[in-house]
């Protein structure tokens, strides 16, 4: 339903895009003007998106969707604004405001600050446009504009060779993702005859009742999944992400907090389309699990703080994709929002890693693994699992959560339980009573927080047409086995490092993990084929 009350939502991406098309030279010359405009635009954007979200909350949650369309000639433009869009819009505007205000001081005095702010605004505007677009073509255009903005930010210091190399790698992988997306859109148009979200969702809903006799439609899901994988740095398309530290810190923060979610957002927004082929979601789940394992393992070996955060992002995005693949879209949305805020803070605060480490040093050491007797170890593990299960069951009982009807809840609940159990185990090893008690109390708080967040996101998604309530996926043996193996490896990773560090296998594994399993070399080789090096022949000088 069209509602003119929400027309101001269109201002939000527009104002950023307007700043984004100012030529760089003018932005640099008029840097104080650019700074003022950028910060005003950020405040305005956040204000408008919060107002829109409040409006939706008070007046719209029941009826659900608002959109506004207008055609300029035959070009379809419009806003599709439901609770999912509003949540993502508020998130990206908040992150944008934090980053713009950070950049004002951080790059103060740089000759190219104006140009930097211009492209930051352009990127924020593109992402905002992407989350409120109502038409697949508009979505694809916004997707590509985001890539462009990010590329310009990555080569902000264009004279740094490593920055250019990293940007080129990302360019190749992004173009690959664009190709997947474009093919998916073509097939959608061919099968559905329309590209507007509202109409597509109507058609997919009616398909549920009857069958759909377009065989090509089965390709939409896998292509969308592949496109999302390139954007959200899933294995094997992840190698562009860890090399992006050659741009200023706010760029990393924006990328890891605002843009890398785009893949997840794509899957959640277009889940009716993706779920047309059930195998694509299962594939996504497996890819997500492998990425999570890969990212978590490599993160453990990295010694520089930004690289650590980069691989942590890869792992977290992998986990999010796993949740999407299992059909737990609310959990995935919770993960997107929580991860954005957490990662933005971690990157922007990366300079205080030394102060924080110094602050935590104590003169007491936790008990070493080798010193705990087997019986005591077993007892501790059992106790930890008991604590974890209890703290998980308390909110479920109190809120009367029907977890068996939620897709993927069993696996995610297990993950949460293991997380709480491992935290309690560490607390027991520290050999001090008060931290242990605090951890037990914290376990209960954690599960309440988790369930609360989950319910909020579920309420958000319930009113959209994007969230497909999937039948619980029929459990196929290969999927279950793969997931089980991945999770087992994930959980024994730490004890493997502690106990078996000096074995030859672990030593070889260490060197391979330290190098990120050499995937970035492959990607680099590929980009060198496209941009060959120039030999300077002749004399040495």
């Amino acid at each position: 339903m069209a509602d003119s009350n929400l027309v101001y939502v269109a201002i939000v991406p527009l104002v950023f895009l307007l700043i984004g098309i100012v030529p760089s030279r003018i932005a640099d010359d008029q840097v104080s003007r650019t700074r003022q405009i950028a910060i005003i635009a950020s405040f305005l954007g956040l204000f408008l998106s919060v107002v829109a979200m409040a409006y939706l909350f008070f007046f719209g949650f029941r009826s659900g969707i608002w959109f506004l369309t207008f055609d300029i000639g035959s070009v379809p433009l419009g806003i599709y604004f439901d609770s999912l869009s509003s949540m993502m819009l508020v998130l990206i505007q908040f992150i944008g405001l934090v980053i713009v205000s950070y950049s004002l001081r951080y790059l103060d005095g740089e000759a190219t600050q104006g140009r930097f702010l211009r492209w930051i605004c352009f990127t924020i505007g593109s992402v905002s446009l992407m989350v409120v677009s109502h038409h697949l073509a508009m979505f694809a255009v916004a997707w590509m504009m985001t890539s462009l903005g990010l590329h310009k930010l990555l080569v902000h210091y264009g004279d740094r060779r490593r920055a250019v190399v990293a940007a080129r790698k990302k360019l190749l992988i992004s173009r690959l993702g664009d190709i997947f997306l474009l093919f998916a859109i073509l097939i959608t148009y061919q099968c559905f005859g329309t590209l507007t979200f509202a109409e597509i969702f109507s058609i997919t809903e009616s398909i549920r009742q009857s069958s759909f006799d377009q065989p090509m439609a089965a390709w939409i899901g896998p292509l969308l999944v592949l496109g999302a994988m390139t954007k959200s740095a899933q294995f094997p398309f992840h190698s562009w992400l860890p090399d992006t530290m050659e741009a200023p810190t706010p760029v990393s923060a924006l990328m890891h907090a605002g843009i890398i979610n785009a893949g997840g957002f794509l899957i959640i927004r277009l889940s009716p389309l993706v779920s047309l082929s059930s195998v694509s979601l299962q594939f996504l789940a497996v890819v997500g699990a492998i990425t999570a394992l890969f990212g978590a393992a490599v993160m453990l070996t990295q010694t520089s703080v930004k690289k650590c955060l980069a691989y942590s992002t890869i792992a977290q995005m992998g986990f999010m994709m796993l949740q999407c693949g299992l059909g737990a879209f609310s959990a995935a949305l919770l993960h997107i929002v929580g991860h954005s805020l957490y990662k933005a803070y971690s990157f922007l605060n990366a300079g205080s890693v030394i102060d924080n480490a110094g602050r935590l040093q104590t003169d007491i050491e936790p008990v070493k693994y080798g010193d705990i007797g087997l019986i005591q170890l077993g007892f501790q593990q059992v106790l930890a699992i008991v604590i974890a299960t209890t703290s998980l069951l308390i909110p479920i009982y109190l809120i009367d959560l029907d977890w068996s009807s939620k897709p993927g809840a069993a696996i995610l609940g297990l993950v949460l339980m293991f997380a709480i159990a491992s935290a309690n185990l560490k607390a027991m090893r520290s050999n001090r009573l008060k931290p242990l008690l605090a951890t037990v109390a914290g376990s209960i708080v954690t599960s309440f927080a988790y369930c609360g967040g989950f319910l909020v996101m579920e309420a958000v998604l319930a009113t959209t047409r994007s969230s497909v309530s999937l039948q619980l996926i029929p459990w196929q043996t290969p999927l279950v086995i793969i997931l089980a193996v991945v999770f087992a490896l994930l959980f024994v990773l730490h004890s493997g490092i502690d106990r078996w560090r000096q074995t030859r296998l672990m030593q070889r594994l260490y060197v391979a993990t330290l190098n990120g399993f050499y995937f970035d070399v492959t990607a680099q080789r590929l980009s060198e084929r496209v941009w060959p090096k120039k030999a300077i022949g002749g004399s040495a000088e």
Partner: protein, 888 residues
């Protein structure tokens, strides 16, 4: 054996120190005894192992010892202090070192010509300065400057375009990878540096990675061999069978270097410079490894980690050589370009560009000195010469500040606000060579200059007057602190462990909304995080150093009574305040306040090893207030008046606030003095902030103070940028003079220092520290990409001790660009330290002659020395003569 030799060359005051971490003698490697020890040790082991080439091996060892000495150490970020990048080269003169360096790397030591032309246009340098500078250069280096005129020198610059051509190559030595890059358009150098960075960062990691290297306990070379023999990266880039080749290298780095040198076939006379070039291609890591070898005492050992690093770098070069260089065509690389010279190149003659740069630099320094000395000279007319003065009664309140340049501004404003107060300058650690152990922390913190090591340890605790209350309270708050920190570690482990990081983000990610908001608006807890863990609010003022603490472990010394008396006495003697103490004497250390800044320790007090001066000030005040100590001092001839009280304070150099400690211990009689003092420093702080705001782009005083609170602020304060002079004189010489916060000021009255011991102490300790700071800032502002650490916005903390710029690459040493440049102009004008001492020339000469390191600095023009002797000004000319420059 080395340590005993080093101890005898240090000034007597610091004989109380247990050992010297290093003495300039080791750094310069001038002590022939030192060299012989190393060589003889190497020779004997060599005799046992190989009969084949004893002379080659021990020549190599001697070469490597030379190279090691030339590398300046780099402290980890927790203890970051400014280090002279040319330490180890100071036994040569500045000009020849600039030539030597330009041959082996692409760093430059002189600013570009346009920098000087700007100053000429702005009339900061007068044509007269140019003439005088040329005369001075001709006197010092007649062989190079003879027959040159100002016009001709200027024309050389103008012909070269006048623009910054200082990167044009006078570089003679290149690594093989560099040559391969130029020829093939490859990036081997970057790849090699990334590999070395990777190995070194995992080997020296201080806790960032949760999966540490399995080979951490080994030497660097062996750890590298283990990693590189399993690492496929070089093979993927095209170096075939690299892993196998690495395994076949010998396990001793010196032998490996010998073997590798044979492959490349460098002529013997070029080996030393070429290996130095190799080391400088990974200069950041070399500096940090140098620091580590100094810390664990392995500097003199034959196969220490720095030699390992050179061997590793050489190994990669040789691997490239074997694989990539076509044998026939490139066999002579990288030797061919220096044998193609036709003999026109003479390594010992600096080229024209360097001569012009040197001359212009000297003229800039002369211009600065001209302004400063004429201002000092004017003071003579306005203030009473202390020789003829009637005994001036001491002011009621006296404040002792650190010699840091930032103190100059606030001292001036404090004295302007009130007539009842006078200020002094003294080393920021107040002569208390202590290590400070905060409660429930693992390692003590050294609170003294990095060249020295602590003589005793002081614990942190609750300062109560009765020890009973202290004991019973001690248990509970220490346990609270331990619990709090253990829980903090658990939270951190939950965030980063593979099994719980996903659930953490989902459960607590939304809470980071508040973190982001609070940090963005500048509400952050900027006090040293964790300082008051476990301590209740009302007990916080009581937390501090406790003097009668018990020794924590064996071999750790505490402060016994005799030592207390000795330290207290030396403080007053070196300050020159054995008599004439006021009613209230404030010992004011300094520290900074900043958020999200890896360089925080660089802005703290360098005299306290990159930490806050608070513990030292409090310990010193305690010692001097102690009645028993005062009785013993009176016996020794130092009479402290009964109504003199000492109080400790800390000057927050970012917000220019002064915080007073242990106020509750002050007797009632002094409270009114303290209140007056608080009012004075409050007013002075406001005026100081306004003055600093002018320098920061015309912002208000409140905005200056607010820079301490924002996490995105890259220039919280200018720190020591702008430092140019070191003035050793009574305060009357510099009173009310606006030096713009550019001078280190040490109070010194030569009439009170009869035997010259205080002057010797000042010239061998604070002056050296100041020269280190000055040369660090000089190098970082002249060539930030080589000597400095680049752009702060790209910085990436590695291993929790160092900085990388970007993804990877070499470790960065030195200061970031933001610390010396404000975006429009350099805030630190590159000038070598001008030392001005008000003392008889003979006393100064005695110190110069007796101390090799001081002599090297002045003779080599690393610092300039000016004496104010009996109202006449003399400049020290090389070779030990004095030249009168102007009469007062």
């Amino acid at each position: 054996m080395q340590e005993r030799i080093l101890l005898t060359s240090c000034p007597t005051h610091f004989l109380k120190s247990k050992t010297l971490i290093m003495s300039p003698a080791v750094l310069n490697n001038e002590s022939s005894i030192c060299k012989q020890d190393v060589v003889s040790g190497a020779v004997s082991s060599r005799m046992r192992d190989k009969e084949t080439q004893p002379s080659k091996a021990d020549r190599l060892t001697a070469t490597l010892t030379h190279i090691q000495a030339r590398i300046a150490p780099l402290w980890p970020l927790q203890d970051f202090v400014a280090v002279n990048p040319f330490v180890g080269l100071t036994n040569h003169c500045f000009l020849s070192v600039s030539g030597q360096l330009e041959r082996v790397c692409d760093g430059t030591m002189f600013p570009a010509a346009e920098h000087f032309f700007d100053k000429l246009r702005a009339n900061e340098i007068w044509p007269d300065d140019l003439e005088k500078a040329l005369k001075q250069c001709s006197q010092q280096y007649p062989q190079w400057y003879a027959g040159r005129s100002v016009k001709r020198l200027l024309s050389i610059v103008l012909l070269a375009g006048g623009k910054s051509n200082h990167k044009e190559s006078s570089q003679r030595y290149f690594t093989v990878s560099h040559c391969a890059d130029r020829r093939l358009g490859e990036c081997w150098t970057d790849r090699i540096v990334d590999e070395i960075s990777k190995v070194c960062s995992v080997h020296f990691d201080e806790g960032q990675a949760m999966w540490p290297s399995p080979w951490k306990g080994m030497s660097l070379f062996q750890a590298w061999k283990q990693i590189a023999s399993r690492d496929r990266r070089m093979e993927k880039w095209g170096i075939k069978k690299f892993r196998q080749w690495v395994s076949s290298l010998p396990s001793s780095p010196t032998e490996a270097i010998l073997r590798l040198l044979e492959v490349v076939n460098i002529p013997a006379e070029h080996v030393e410079d070429w290996l130095w070039c190799q080391a400088l291609s990974v200069t950041g890591w070399a500096s940090h490894v140098r620091y580590r070898t100094m810390q664990d005492g392995s500097t003199g050992e034959v196969d220490n980690d720095l030699i390992s690093l050179i061997a590793i770098r050489l190994a990669y070069d040789v691997a490239i050589f074997q694989e990539v260089c076509d044998r026939d065509e490139w066999r002579m690389w990288p030797v061919d370009h220096w044998s193609n010279d036709n003999g026109t190149y003479d390594a010992n003659v600096p080229n024209d560009r360097l001569l012009v740069g040197h001359w212009l630099q000297v003229s800039a320094e002369m211009a600065y000195r001209r302004q400063l000395i004429s201002a000092l000279a004017h003071q003579q007319c306005l203030h009473v010469d202390s020789a003829e003065a009637v005994a001036v009664p001491p002011k009621r309140i006296q404040m002792v500040f650190c010699i840091d340049v930032r103190s100059e501004v606030i001292r001036r404003h404090i004295e302007a606000v009130s007539d009842n107060i006078e200020t002094f300058g003294f080393a920021g650690f107040f002569g208390v060579p202590m290590a400070y152990r905060p409660t429930a922390s693992k390692d003590p913190v050294s609170q003294l200059p990095v060249l020295l090591s602590p003589a005793f340890e002081v614990n942190e605790g609750m300062r109560f007057s009765s020890s009973a209350t202290r004991c019973e309270r001690r248990e509970s708050w220490i346990d609270r602190r331990r619990d709090r920190r253990t829980f903090g570690k658990l939270i951190k482990a939950v965030q980063s462990s593979a099994s719980s990081c996903f659930s953490f983000v989902e459960a607590y990610g939304l809470a980071y909304f508040s973190h982001l908001t609070l940090a963005s608006i500048g509400i952050a807890d900027t006090r040293k995080p964790g300082r008051y863990d476990g301590v209740r609010g009302k007990d916080r003022p009581r937390l501090g150093p406790v003097l009668d603490s018990v020794a924590v472990g064996p071999g750790i010394e505490v402060l016994d009574f005799d030592r207390k008396v000795a330290v207290a006495g030396s403080i007053l003697r070196n300050l020159g305040l054995t008599s004439g103490l006021g009613r209230l004497v404030v010992l004011c250390g300094h520290s900074c306040q900043t958020v999200n800044n890896p360089y925080r320790a660089g802005l703290d007090c360098g005299a306290c090893g990159g930490h806050s001066g608070e513990p030292n000030a409090r310990v010193a005040a305690d010692l001097l207030n102690d009645q028993e100590v005062r009785k013993s001092l009176a016996v020794a001839g130092i009479d402290i008046p009964a109504d003199s009280r000492f109080i400790a304070a800390v000057h927050n150099t970012t917000t220019d606030e002064i915080e007073f400690f242990d106020v509750a211990d002050l007797p009632q009689s002094h409270l009114s003095d303290l209140n007056e003092l608080k009012w004075i420093v409050d007013q002075a702080g406001k005026m100081t902030r306004i003055e600093r705001g002018e320098r920061m782009g015309k912002i208000s005083g409140a905005q200056v103070a607010s820079r301490a609170r924002f996490w995105s602020e890259v220039r919280p304060e200018w720190g020591l940028a702008g430092n140019a002079a070191f003035i050793v004189a009574p305060r009357s010489r510099t009173l009310a003079l606006d030096i713009g916060g550019r001078a280190f000021m040490h109070s010194y009255d030569h009439k009170r220092d009869v035997d010259g011991k205080v002057l010797e102490l000042i010239m061998t300790a604070p002056m050296i520290v100041a020269s280190w700071i000055n040369l660090q800032y000089y190098a970082s502002s002249v060539d930030n990409s080589f000597f400095g650490s680049g752009n702060k916005v790209l910085h990436n903390v590695v291993g929790q001790f160092g900085i990388l710029e970007g993804n990877a690459g070499d470790l960065r040493a030195g200061l970031p660009w933001q610390s010396v440049h404000d975006g429009e102009q350099l805030q630190h004008e590159p000038l070598r330290l001008s030392v001005i001492i008000e003392a008889p020339r003979e006393a100064i000469m005695e110190v110069v002659e007796n101390h090799r390191n001081v002599r090297d600095l002045v003779d080599g023009t690393w610092i300039s020395l000016t004496a104010i002797d009996n109202s006449r000004v003399y400049r020290y000319a090389a070779g030990g003569t004095w030249e009168e420059t102007m009469a007062l």
